[in-house]
Every structure is written in structure tokens, then in C-alpha cells.
């Protein structure tokens, strides 16, 4: 009930922001822990930059996926689309007509094509996103193996130059044991991550489209009644996620320099985990794009820690799994506390066993 006295209630923090904040705090604490435990590697700036340098494709995919998830959907085709793009680029670059501009166009083209196809089927024909993007996953995998089965190492000189290109930060770095100063290096992929992050986070915060995505993910029925074109909004989220998957593919091959059937396989699951850890709820309407890199990095740092501890690598998968449980339960508890409603796992209805609510 409203209180009669017209005291303006304080605007409390939104769910999106509080989940993001928690993710950020946990990440910082964990990184501090890593620095204290293994100062040898984590004290170095380069280690931090390498997290981006080596995992730029995953972060890029997670960004697009977060937008889809905020809109209440899911896209599990992104890993395979990314893999397909690396192979397509490799084949093209090794052909006679191979050039870098063309490779970028191919990457974005494949991504958009998948985005448009899946977005159309999901939004306009109202088919479950899980099913559609699972089909997309198989389709992309099939295309990938049809295209080429064996690994291709791209040798085109222009491309090799791009692959090996580093941005050197002269004022930041560490002295090695011999006392020689080694400056930090940043890969172009990291720059793309930063640009894309700023761009997409701004879109989600300040564009009409971005706010519509939140509305649709929160309550698509209400959003429709409020005059939002729900179908178009959902459609566009999948196009964006296709685009980022395509771009991730190009960044992937730019990092590794090779097309391979196994490229980025299973990346969709890492991206989903990253998104969740970064504070994007699976049931839509809540999330902050700045959480995407934080989620990815949290996952990576945990794995690095395990490796540094010298534990067998199968523990990494287990710990990733436990971390995910931890975050989903933590988020559910926070949401329950805030809404003063009963505890309920923050999962979409199609992932919950009971169909209540």
C-alpha cells in the first residue's frame, strides 16, 4: 500500500546494477587474491592484458549474447558460427583472391546471415529460441566441416603481419629478472573488445532500441501494450548476436592464425556462463553489458588460479560448473530478498521443472 504522506521514496539501485556490482566486486576480490597468492604472474600487467588478448573472441560473443539474454532469449549457435567464420576466412585468405577486407566482410556476412535467419524464425514465427539456435549450431557445424576438414594455417603475408601486430605501451610494463624493461603489449582484438563494449553498452543504456530490449525481456506482453514493436526488437537482438559471433570469428583467426574444425567449439557454453556470472539473468530483463567482460574474466582467472595451483585440468571444468551454480543461487537469493517474494531460481520457465509462474 502507498503511504499517504507524499515523501518521495529513494530510488534504490536497479536489479541490473546491483547484480553487476556484485559481479565486479567478486572479480576484484578474486584478482586481489590471485595477486597475493601468485604475485609472480598476476602482479604483471601483461597477465591482465593477456586475459583480453587471448580471450577477445569469447568476450565479443558474450556481449552479443548478453543482449539476446536481456531480451529474454538465448543463442547457443554463437560458438559454431564463430568457428565457421574462422574456417571461411582461412579458406578465403589462402585463395588467390584473398584479402583482409574481404575476410572481414565474409565474417560479418556469415554472422548477419545466421542472425537474420534465426531472429526471423524466433521472433516472427515464434519458435523456441533454444530449438532454433540449437539447429543453427548444427547447421554451422555442418557447413564448417563441409567447407574444409583439415586445419589451414593462413600464410598470406598481409594477414600474418596483422596477426603479429602488437600495440606496445611503452610506459607500462615490468622488468624481467635481468632487469630489462619489457613493455606491455595489446593485441588489436583487445581494442575491438573495448570499442565494442563501449558501443554496445551505450546502445543498451541510451538508445531507444536498448531500452526496448529491457522492456521486452522484462515482460513482453506489457511491452507490446506499451507500444513497443516486440517482434522487431527480438529480431534485432539475434542479428546483433550473429554479428558479434561473426566478428568474434574474425578476431579468433586474427589471434590464432589458423582455421580449424575445433575452433571455438563449446564457446557458447562459456559465453552463457560468462554472461550469467557477469550479472545477466537467464530469465531476461536484467543485465548490464559491462558485466560481460567481468564474467568472462572471472571464469578465466579462476581457471588460471587452478592451473597455477598445479591441480589437474579436469578440476577447471568442475570449478567452472560450481562457480556457475554459486552465481545462479546467489543471484536468485538477491532477487528474492529484493522482491520480498519467495525464493525461486532465477531461470526462464523453459528451464524450470515446475511451471508455476
Amino acid at each position: 500500500m502507498a503511504s499517504v504522506n507524499v515523501i518521495k521514496p529513494k530510488a534504490r539501485m536497479s536489479n541490473s546494477n546491483i547484480l553487476f556490482l556484485i559481479a565486479a566486486v567478486i572479480f576484484v576480490l578474486m584478482y586481489l587474491f590471485a595477486i597475493i597468492s601468485y604475485p609472480g604472474s598476476f602482479m604483471q600487467f601483461q597477465t591482465f592484458f593477456d586475459l583480453f588478448n587471448l580471450n577477445a573472441p569469447l568476450i565479443i560473443m558474450t556481449l552479443g549474447l548478453c543482449i539476446v539474454m536481456i531480451g529474454g532469449g538465448i543463442d547457443i549457435s554463437i560458438g559454431s558460427v564463430c568457428g565457421l567464420v574462422t574456417m571461411a576466412c582461412a579458406v578465403f585468405l589462402e585463395s588467390d583472391k584473398g584479402n583482409i577486407g574481404g575476410a572481414i566482410l565474409i565474417s560479418l556476412g556469415i554472422g548477419i546471415a545466421f542472425g537474420i535467419l534465426q531472429g526471423y524464425l524466433i521472433s516472427y514465427l515464434e519458435i523456441q529460441p533454444f530449438i532454433i539456435t540449437l539447429s543453427g549450431l548444427f547447421l554451422a557445424q555442418g557447413l564448417l566441416t563441409t567447407l574444409h576438414k583439415d586445419p589451414i594455417n593462413v600464410t598470406m603475408p598481409a594477414f600474418v603481419r596483422l596477426r603479429d601486430f602488437d600495440i606496445i605501451i611503452t610506459w607500462l610494463g615490468t622488468k624481467n629478472r635481468l632487469g630489462v624493461f619489457i613493455p606491455c603489449e595489446i593485441k588489436p582484438g583487445t581494442i575491438i573488445v573495448v570499442i565494442l563494449l563501449v558501443l554496445l553498452a551505450s546502445v543498451m543504456k541510451w538508445s531507444r532500441f536498448g531500452r526496448n530490449v529491457y522492456a521486452v525481456g522484462g515482460n513482453s506482453h506489457s511491452a507490446n501494450m506499451l507500444g513497443i514493436n516486440v517482434k522487431k526488437t527480438i529480431f534485432l537482438t539475434y542479428v546483433i548476436s550473429g554479428l558479434t559471433a561473426g566478428l568474434a570469428g574474425f578476431v579468433y583467426i586474427m589471434t590464432t592464425g589458423a582455421g580449424n574444425v575445433g575452433n571455438a567449439s563449446g564457446a557458447e557454453m562459456k559465453a552463457i556462463a560468462s554472461a550469467i556470472i557477469g550479472g545477466t539473468l537467464l530469465n531476461g530483463g536484467v543485465g548490464n553489458l559491462l558485466g560481460a567482460p567481468i564474467g568472462t574474466l572471472t571464469l578465466l582467472v579462476i581457471n588460471e588460479l587452478i592451473r597455477a595451483a598445479g591441480v589437474q585440468s579436469n578440476f577447471q571444468a568442475m570449478v567452472s560448473g560450481l562457480l556457475l551454480y554459486f552465481f545462479i543461487v546467489l543471484q536468485s537469493i538477491i532477487m528474492a530478498l529484493r522482491d520480498k517474494k519467495g525464493f525461486r531460481l532465477a531461470l526462464p520457465s523453459w528451464l524450470r521443472l515446475s511451471n508455476k509462474g
Binding site: 507524499v6 529513494k10 526496448n212 522492456a215 515482460n219 511491452a223 513497443i228 530483463g285 508455476k356
Partner: protein, 502 residues
């Protein structure tokens, strides 16, 4: 008064599986008039609205807006043509801020200017006296505030036509007043307003014309002032309703006054009710009266421990018991129909019957044991008793009209037969005919030995149903009224005199 017709609907028909919701209905809205659309639950009022705004597609008929035939396919088109709508079920997004909810879907630029939007929202909220801040997330607002925000959104749209489908159902008198002032202002500016409500006094207070629907058919269009209330009711129901004011007062069947069924001593909760003492006897119907925000719902919630209880002790039939959670309360034989029924409301895809027996099944073993078959029979019985309009008991509940869904949730709790039942706003959104049935049913249950706390924002309804009224103000009890000839004035007097600032 010769006024230009802005909206005309001719021969509108609409069928849903198993129901003819509208059967060649005509409707006319003139410039600068407030037009009440009346009818029982399920008469087809909301369907007519949704056909105008493009939520549903009509099967047949013609709609013209200022002489031009229109055919909206989405609510957005209607909005763009200057039709502002507040739907019966509040249609807002709870994960967005208050300001966003007021402006989203209305601007067409690619960029959101938060600063400007928040400033505009702030002004609008202030001018309507809505206690909310623009940057607050909507989920943290009460139902009443959300309703006001939905209204603020619609009236701000600079519209030609404003449609209000039961906007007053969760508002208190003050807020209704503010809304009416606003409606009059818009009317003077030439806006045509369609107003749906089940509060007859409101129809007479504000509307110029009334169109009555019954079972999807048009009964007629009348000048409100020249249509006596009793006639309006009989037009809506199709028969003459016994005078509700003559409804028999209920006297508690007191078996043993020394031991109350429920007794709370010094109860207080996180919701801010001041510690209060309260007891209810077997077979008694009492009520918490007071204005919105007086603490009437909060007290009920404290009894059921729906809000965390911070102090006090509880006795059931004289024995001290510990009630910490709603589940404990249920185990002790307390049932509770919450005021906000959206949260614990309906399960859209389950049938009407399953929705009714849901709580009973969950509570199996806590109250009287029933077999499933018995439960289903009871459910069917309540469908009839509460006049729930549904094609069959197996129809999914989502296809019922708003009021009929409310009845299902009420039936759910009535059916559980707890020893002590708390009903917070049980008749919200329910038509006059059924309101009387509900009052009778409550009294009948009390006569069978159930204790009931009945809370309603309609004081008249409480006076007719309750044998004892506990009057609240500023979150504390300021008086108690008994007697068979109470009037609304008696209650208002206690409210006016009572309280800290008295």
C-alpha cells in the same frame, strides 16, 4: 448538448473458443464526454476496448475515428493515433524505472535522453501527487502507485481518446478524487473518455453517458443522470437485484467468548504497523477499516506473517503458538487472500477448476482432508456460487475476464475452509451482483463457525458484512465500532478524531 462523435463502433462481433464475447455491439463516443461502459464480469467490456486498440482483431463490424474507418493491428498504431489506454491488468514493465514506464514506446527518436525524461516524469508525478520517484524501479512501487503511473502515462499522451479499464480498482478515495479532477480537465479540453468500473457511485459521480453490455450484447445507451441506480443494476444483471442495503446483518455465533480463535498481543511487523492487540472469536466477521496506507493490510499481513513479524505473541484458542512464516500460519489454520493478487495469482495455463483446487492440494493435510473428486465437486460448486463465467471448468483460466479470474482466486481460499480466514479486498474488480453473493457467502461461512477478517476499501461493504470494525489510522488502531446500524459517517468520524495528531 450537440457534440461531435469521435469514435463510432458498429455491429462489432468477436468470438473466442466457446464464447461469443461480443455480438453486434454498437458504441459511440462523443467529444468531451465521459462515457461509462458497464456490465457484469465477462460482459465483454475489456474485449470491446481491446478491439479498439488493436490488441484483438474483430470478427465483424466497422470502427470509425473522426469519420475515418480505422483498423489497428497493434496497440502502437492506436497510441500513435491519439488513443491512450490504461488496461485492466496493469501493463507496465516492472524491471524498468518509473520514468521509462511513462515514456517508453512513445518517443520515436533513436536516443533516450534520461535527464529530460526524468525531469518530465518528475513534473508529471508531482502534478498528480504520485509518491514515486522517476528513477525508482517500478517493481518497488505498490500496486496503487503502479496504477497511478499507468494513468499518468496515458493522460500525458496528449490524446483524443482516453480509455480507462477499471483504473480505480486499487486506488483509495483521495486518489480517485485526483483522477476524477484530471478526467474533468481532459473532458473540458475535448477528450472523449471511456471509463469502466464496478463502483456504481463513481459512474454517477463522473460519467455523462452510460452504455450497458450484457453477455456480449448491447443493452442500451443512456444519459447517466436520468438512469436510476436500481435500473442500471437491473439492466446489467438482466434481473432485479435485491436492495443490497437490506442485506441481513450478521451476528456472531458465539459459542464461548472466553477463548478467541486467534489472539495477537503486541504484534508489529517490518511493514511499520505499531504494536497492536487483536482477537477474533469463533464465527465472527470483523473488518479493518481505514484509508489506504492506514495499515489495514499491514495488520492482516502481520497476523499471517506475510511480512516479517518483529514483536508480539500469538495465541490460537488460548494456547501460545509460534508463527514465524506463512506456512506456520497455514498449519495453525489461518488462510489469507492477499491484496496484491498478481504475485501469487493465477497459473495462466491451468484450467479454472485446477486453479481453484490448487491451494487445497498444496495444503492437503493442513485443513480438512478432501479427496480429489470431492475437491473437484467443490470447485464446480464454487464456479456456480460465485457466478464464475467460463465456458467449462476445464477452460484455461487465462481466457477468463479480469473479474472472473479474481473470483477464482477468492474461491481458492474459501474452499480451503480454514478456521480463520483473512480476506484483503476480496471483491476488487468484481461486479455488483457477485459482490452481494460474496458477502452472503462470507456470512454463511461464519455461521458455520469460520472466523473471518474482511478488509475492503468500500466502507459500505464492510459495514454490511462485519459485526465489528477495527478502525485504523497512521498504522495504529484508533477505535472499534460495533452495532447493526453503523454508517459510513461513523467510521469516518473515528478516523477523523483518532490518531496521534488528534
Amino acid at each position: 448538448m450537440l457534440s461531435e462523435i469521435i469514435l463510432e463502433m458498429k455491429d462489432i462481433s468477436k468470438s473466442f473458443p466457446g464464447v461469443k464475447a461480443l455480438d453486434s455491439v454498437d458504441f459511440k463516443l462523443r467529444k468531451g464526454e465521459i462515457h461509462a461502459l458497464m456490465g457484469e464480469n465477462g460482459a465483454g467490456k475489456s474485449t470491446l476496448i481491446k478491439i479498439i486498440t488493436g490488441v484483438y482483431e474483430k470478427d465483424a463490424g466497422l470502427i470509425t475515428l473522426q469519420g475515418e474507418p480505422i483498423h489497428f493491428k497493434t496497440p502502437q498504431e492506436a497510441q500513435d493515433k491519439g488513443i491512450g489506454t490504461v488496461y485492466q491488468e496493469i501493463m507496465l514493465c516492472s524491471n524498468l524505472t518509473v520514468a521509462e514506464n511513462m515514456f517508453i514506446g512513445r518517443s520515436h527518436g533513436p536516443v533516450v535522453n534520461w535527464k529530460q525524461m526524468n525531469e518530465k516524469a518528475e513534473q508529471l508525478l508531482a502534478s498528480l501527487g504520485i509518491p514515486a520517484s522517476p528513477m525508482q524501479e517500478l517493481s518497488s512501487c505498490s500496486l496503487a502507485v503502479q496504477q497511478m503511473i499507468a494513468i499518468a502515462r496515458a493522460v500525458d499522451m496528449d490524446c483524443k481518446i482516453l480509455i480507462l479499464d477499471e483504473p480505480t480498482s486499487s486506488l483509495d478515495e483521495d486518489e480517485v478524487h485526483k483522477l476524477f479532477e484530471l478526467m474533468r480537465e481532459l473532458k473540458d479540453r475535448g477528450v472523449g473518455i471511456i471509463f469502466i468500473t464496478h463502483f456504481l457511485e463513481q459512474v454517477y459521480e463522473i460519467s455523462d453517458r452510460t452504455t450497458v453490455l450484457r453477455n456480449g450484447k448491447l443493452v442500451g445507451e443512456y444519459e447517466t443522470a436520468s438512469l436510476p441506480q436500481i435500473e442500471l443494476i437491473s439492466k446489467m444483471l438482466g434481473n432485479v437485484l435485491e436492495d443490497i442495503t437490506k442485506l441481513k446483518k450478521h451476528e456472531p455465533v458465539v459459542t464461548d467468548t472466553s477463548v478467541p480463535v486467534f489472539e495477537g498481543i503486541g504484534l508489529s511487523s517490518v511493514a511499520g504497523v505499531r504494536p497492536f492487540n487483536f482477537a477474533i472469536q469463533k464465527g465472527e466477521v470483523n473488518g479493518f477499516a481505514g484509508l489506504l496506507g492506514s495499515g489495514r493490510s499491514e495488520s492482516a499481513r502481520a497476523i499471517f506473517t506475510a511480512d516479517k513479524v518483529t514483536g508480539g505473541e500469538v495465541k490460537m484458542k488460548g494456547k501460545r503458538v509460534k508463527i514465524k512464516t506463512p506456512l506456520h500460519a497455514i498449519k495453525q489454520g489461518i488462510g489469507y487472500l492477499p491484496e496484491d493478487r498478481k504475485g501469487d495469482g493465477i497459473i495462466a495455463d491451468l484450467s479454472v477448476r485446477d486453479n481453484i483446487i490448487l491451494t487445497l492440494q498444496v495444503l492437503k493435510g493442513f485443513f480438512k482432508p478432501f479427496s480429489l473428486k470431492q475437491a473437484e465437486e467443490f470447485a464446480d460448486d464454487y464456479i456456480e456460487k460465485l457466478n464464475i463465467k467460463t465456458p467449462t471448468a476445464n477452460t484455461p483460466i487465462r481466457s477468463l475476464s479480469g473479474g472472473n479470474q479474481q473470483k477464482v482466486i477468492l474461491a481458492r481460499w474459501l474452499l480451503t475452509h480454514p478456521e480463520y480466514l483473512i480476506l484483503d479486498e476480496p471483491t476488487r474488480g468484481i461486479d455488483v451482483g457477485t459482490k452481494v453473493e460474496i458477502q452472503k457467502l462470507v456470512i454463511q461461512l461464519a455461521n458455520e463457525g469460520m472466523s473471518v477478517t474482511f478488509i475492503s476499501s468500500e466502507i459500505g461493504e464492510m459495514i454490511r458484512t462485519c459485526s465489528r470494525l477495527i478502525v485504523m489510522k497512521d498504522r495504529e488502531i484508533v477505535g472499534e465500532l460495533r452495532g447493526t446500524d453503523l454508517t459510513e459517517n461513523d467510521v469516518m468520524n473515528v478516523i477523523a478524531k483518532g490518531g496521534r495528531n488528534a
